[in-house]
Amino acid sequence: MEKNSISCAAVAKIKEICQAHNNDAGELINILHETQNTFGYLPKDVQALVARTLGIPATRVNGVVSFYAFFTEKPKGKHPISVCLGTACYVRGSEKVLDEVKKVLGIEVGETTPDGVFSLDCLRCVGACGLAPVMTIDGKVYGNVDPKNVRKILESEEFKG
């Protein structure tokens, strides 16, 4: 009996991913990438199961997951937002954009809104410095963002429901 809050199907899927990498602990990062792609995030029980399957301590899996910014232990929102804090965006005031997003959504960086619609992250440069300050929603770039327009963007029809 596995003491898990994850479904039997999910358990089977994780074991399948590990098996595809020969349960090799050296493949941990690849395994975690695939697992996150499957489930959207890496909750505690998933990490613990990966650790058990690979025969390594949970601390090692959790160490990798918590070190790399790409991995997330919390579910992402339906529409993930990233605000660029790269140099160009920063000097053009992206911190104010970020503050406004936080204010409008009532969440901090790394969090997801209670309704699960938005999650908020920061990133460093999307290669659109000419449009600074930028943010992305669902991977779509919003350029020359004025903090005053943030609420309008977030309340637009495409993000409803």
Partner: protein
């Protein structure tokens, strides 16, 4: 110039070393002490942490563009190393200043003050100001468990504890999490240590260079009990304490200070000064009898008998197999550890003899160990909520208390432990070293099994510091195969062999700490010097040689205890008071 050796110069001095030698070790061999912080290497054991992360040991190598970490740079032929150039000294100073910029400056009230490797370096490098103040500081909650206190604000991320927990002990309870200023060493998912697989072996504490990992201090509790006239306070002290506590008072490692220790305990105000060695002898009576009982069933053809029998004196080892090998809980001896047998006998047989009610009797133990603190609080060792052993102090805590109480340890006269719970044989003293419990058991098991007198009591084949040792002992025709492992990683290998059916041993002794209890997590800090542990180990055997009685079953008060109270080994009463059972603590439960 020597053949097959690598010739280099360090600070213009020629040195010849074996291939593979690090610059750090080469320098040490010619008397140059390069400062280190993250590095620790207990030669002869598997303890070796050299992540080269702290950069304290940087040196200049002629022809190399950047500075080289001496701990992780191998010597190459013709290398010219400089350990004290202006560039090196400046780099070291900057490194240390940066480490200190994210380290609390509360040395005056830090439990590690005076014994801190970071503090020593700051003094050695004459860091008198802190140029990088004002930046971000790590902010972590302090966790106090029954055994270990974790203050990650003081952690310098040397990773020694992580190496100990993962590579040496293979427990995997702690590791690095997060990044940058948020980095902390702890259990997965930010759990508490008390919720993790931690065995409380305390080896992380034993190697922590700073005040990030320390023991739960019970000295305050002891002082108030000693000051309470309503309480009778008795103390038991473990074998490994008497060969180590002297170091805290300036004696060389391995000095036997048993007599002064007893005097110091008496001066502190304990009503009775007893010895865990007494119940180590008792453990041998019970565990040895259990071994013989299982062997006799085995020899009679019983295929279901649980063999090999595993020793059960070490509480960290007990925690380890409860977490990691829950399918093998029938193998360990059910005998309680000497600490717990002492508490049990003191609060029954002895207390009744003396007419002291249980609630007025306080049993304190002094142990080389931090897991003993946890063990004394286990529910199965309580009667109506009253623990057999009220609490446990480490060797370090006792030394600190002796100093606090204005006792000049070095000028104390020798004295003996009180009777009856202070009488012991040489067999019990060697419990403090790896291989000792097995040797003590062999001395008694041989005589009980064969009915003959054992002429040569020294089983030198089970002694030593190798991680795993084995020996075959002739039990008058029967070849008894015994194994010994110290360090939980070595224990794991032995248990995996048992699980896969490869093991051929009849009996295995396991101690969690490298070297056994002499290298325990509660001992005076060795700061990476394995010779200290070996000197203590040798002292334990010297103390054994000096004892008139060297077999547990010859202890006269053990005989009295059985005659008056317990009947015989493994009797119903002995089971009730001296044996225990184990629990599945794995996650899959």
């Amino acid at each position: 110039m020597e053949q097959n050796k690598i010739n280099i110069t360090i600070d213009n001095r020629p040195v010849s070393v074996e291939p593979g030698t690090t610059v750090l070790d080469a320098a040490k061999s010619c008397g140059i002490e390069i400062p280190t912080l993250c590095h620790i290497n207990l030669k002869g054991t598997c303890v070796n942490n050299h992540p080269a992360s702290c950069r304290m040991c940087v040196v200049e190598v002629t022809g190399r563009r950047n500075l080289a970490p001496a701990c992780a740079t191998a010597c190459t032929e013709g290398m010219e190393v400089h350990t004290n150039t202006m560039r090196v000294l400046n780099a070291r100073r900057t490194v240390l200043e940066l480490i200190l910029s994210n380290h609390p400056h509360d040395c005056l009230v830090c439990p590690k003050s005076g014994n801190c490797e970071l503090q020593d370096l700051a003094r050695r490098l004459k860091i008198h100001e802190s140029p990088y103040e004002g930046g971000e500081k790590s902010c972590h909650e302090v966790e106090k468990t029954v055994s270990i206190v974790r203050d990650m604000n003081k952690c310098i991320l040397c990773r020694r504890c992580e190496t100990m927990c993962n590579e040496v002990q293979t427990v995997g309870a702690i590791g690095a999490r997060n990044r940058g200023f948020d980095t902390t060493i702890g259990p997965a998912f930010g759990m508490k240590l008390s919720e993790s697989e931690c065995t409380y072996c305390g080896q992380c504490v034993a190697v922590c260079p700073v005040g990030a990992l320390t023991e739960m201090d019970n000295t305050g509790r002891l002082i108030s009990d000693l000051a309470n006239p309503d309480k009778t306070v008795v103390v038991q002290t473990a074998p490994a304490v008497r060969v180590a506590i002297g170091e805290e008072f300036g004696y060389p490692a391995g000095t036997i200070v048993t007599g002064k220790l007893a005097s110091a305990l008496r001066k502190l105000g304990f009503n009775y000064v007893f010895d865990t060695d007494f119940t180590a002898d008792l453990t041998i009576m019970e565990e040895g009898s259990e071994l013989l009982e299982r062997l006799q069933r085995f020899l009679a053809g019983d295929k279901n008998v649980a063999l090999p029998i595993l020793t059960s004196c070490c509480p960290a080892w007990v925690n380890f197999f409860e977490h990691q090998f829950p399918d093998m809980l029938d193998l360990p001896s059910t005998a309680r550890s000497p600490q717990q047998m002492f508490g049990s006998i003191a609060k029954t047989w002895w207390a009744e003899k003396m007419g002291i009610p249980r609630e007025k009797l306080v049993v304190v133990s002094v142990m080389p160990c931090l897991a003993k603190k946890y063990e004394s609080g286990r529910d199965e060792f309580k009667t109506d909520g009253n623990p057999d052993v009220d609490y446990s102090l480490s060797t370090r805590e006792l030394a600190a208390l002796i100093k606090e109480a204005n006792i000049d340890f070095r000028s104390l006269e020798d004295s003996d432990f009180d009777k009856p719970l202070g009488e012991s044989t040489g067999a019990s003293v060697i419990f403090g070293a790896t291989g000792g419990v097995m040797e003590a058991a062999l001395r008694t098991a041989y005589e009980l099994h064969t009915g003959k007198t054992l002429e040569k009591v020294d089983f030198t084949q089970v002694r030593g510091l190798e991680g795993v040792r084995e020996a075959t002992v002739d039990m008058d025709g029967f070849e008894l195969k015994v194994g010994i492992a110290h360090g939980l990683g070595n224990a794991r290998r032995m248990l995996e062999d048992i699980r896969s059916g490869k093991s051929t041993f009849h009996a295995i002794e396991i101690m969690a700490c490298p070297g056994g209890c002499v290298g325990g997590g509660g001992q005076p800090l060795h700061h990476g010097n394995v010779e200290i542990i070996d000197a203590r180990r040798k002292a334990v055997y010297e103390e054994d040689r000096n004892k008139p009685l060297r077999k547990s079953h010859e202890n006269p008060y053990i005989k009295t205890l059985y005659e008056e109270f317990l009947g015989k080994p493994l009797s119903h009463k002995a089971h009730e008071l001296l044996h225990t059972h184990y629990f599945n603590k794995s996650e899959e439960e």
